[in-house]
Amino acid sequence: MKLKSSFYFYLSAIPLFIFLFTIIFITFYLIINGYPVLSFRFLFSNPEEQMTKGGIFPVIFGSFYLTILAFIFSIIPSILSGIYFAYYAKNNILTFILRTLIKTLSGLPSIVFGLFGLAFFVRTLNIGLSFLASSLTLSILSIPYLITATEEGLLSVPHTFYEAAIALGVPKWTAIRKIILPEAKPLLLSGIFLAFARLIGEVAPILFTGVAFYLKTISLSPFDRFMALPYHIYILATQHEKILKVRTIAFASSLVLLFFALLFGVIAYILRMKIKKYY
């Protein structure tokens, strides 16, 4: 009996070990190959000599600027929609259609969002290839996910708190804002950081909407083009004319990207651990 259950324990643990091993392997591989160029200077200086030397500061800057802009555009509509679905939507055909649309949207390949961004933001709204067009595209990509995360966060707060507030004659919106939202906050933030972790690695949505191969200087204007980590890695790995020469830089950039994605993931995880058990 004992033997049998430990057999199943090891059987079920095998995929986990394979998974862990893969992650550790990739990380070490990147560290070993990227380490030679990785330094403080690498992170904070501009690329030099057709990107065969120097650092990747504009690339990191671009990725962060982009993610923050996308966050600014998506956060308010997502939270409001999440509140709507959790507390206002009636159980009717309209709600069903909306939910189905959101599910479908969150399952779409990101290249579709990229094409949409090109057609709508870049061309129709005539924003041009820019931070703005790319971050709007990214926000469209993340909104369905954030709506779902908000709704789950709100619904994780016991309904009894809501009822208690309503029974005191507190207006519905006040009850949600003052009682439910503060309790749901760790879970909401966790969802937001997971969205960050995904957004910072997306290439397809920015590919046709503003990311640039190489720029001499960084620009703070949202109407300018930019460089970004995942695209930078892609071009260094496949498009650069001196591929072998820039390989180390590609590995180091990948390591930086992996670090940020992991960082956001870990923050999300820590926030999730902070969720209270009420009863």
């Binding site: 009636k90 004659g169 507190v170 009420y278």
Partner: protein
């Protein structure tokens, strides 16, 4: 004696299930009225009909009227916020907000724009017989209180905003005998100022705390009268069976 709450041919459905069947009931002011009956007979639903909390449940349908001070609270133009300020409720399971003891009471006061919040919080805690136990920990989380203390905090939260009616849904179901005794003492004190409707499973408790008693069975109001009459001379066979413990 003045009638505070009056049910008139009141029925309620959740979806297709009729939960309350043509209820007629007159609840007198500044008395304790107990509602008894076997599990699932609709006691909580009847209580929640008085502050329209059933409205939160999707697919609820009502027919008939409920008057509070001669105003039909199911009229289309009734302000639910005013109604619920006037009718306080304490739930079956203690449900303080996940905030400090102070903030639990101050929240309702702030929303209803009371002045002198601090004094009112203290007064509510004193009135709910809780002040002495928590006065040094007002800013600690309410979730750390014991079950009985949480229940009294919920009562303090309800009476702080000066309601006229207090609905208590099995307030003692999770309490030990000492906490229950404290609570009953509190109910006794509160009825001087408030009209109290209390749902209880416990017949001895109903006998101890209530002036009037209603007995419900499968959504119907079977019997209503002075508590001593109901306990001594029940008119209906079902009430008698219930009092003899035949419904378990």
């Amino acid at each position: 004696m003045k009638i505070k709450i009056k049910f008139e041919n009141f029925s309620l459905w959740f979806g297709n299930n009729q939960i309350l069947k043509n209820i007629n009931l007159e609840i007198p002011e500044k008395n304790v009225t107990a509602i008894m009956g076997p599990s699932g007979c609709g006691k909580t639903t009847l209580l929640r009909a008085i502050n329209r909390m059933n409205d939160l449940i999707p697919d609820t349908k009502v027919c008939g009227k409920v008057f509070i001070d001669n105003e039909n609270i199911y009229d289309a133009n009734v302000n639910l916020l005013t109604l619920r300020k006037k009718v306080g409720m304490v739930f079956q399971k203690p449900n303080p907000f996940p905030k400090s003891i102070y903030e639990n009471i101050a929240f309702g006061l702030k929303v209803h724009k009371f002045k002198n919040i601090k004094e009112r919080v203290t007064k509510a805690l004193i009135d709910a017989n809780l002040y002495d136990e928590v006065k040094d920990n007002l800013y600690r989380s309410a979730l750390n209180l014991s079950g009985g203390q949480q229940q009294r905090l919920c009562i303090a939260r309800a009476i702080a905003i000066e309601p006229e009616i207090i609905l208590l849904d099995e307030p003692a179901s999770a309490l030990d005998p000492i906490a229950t005794a404290k609570l009953e003492e509190l109910i006794h004190k509160l009825k001087k100022e408030y009209t109290i409707v209390i749902v209880t499973h416990n017949m001895q408790q109903a006998a101890r705390v209530s002036d009037y008693c209603a007995f419900m069975y499968l959504g119907e109001l079977v019997e209503f009268g002075k508590t001593e009459d109901i306990f001594v001379r029940p008119k209906d066979k079902r009430t008698e069976d219930f009092l003899l413990g035949k419904y378990g």
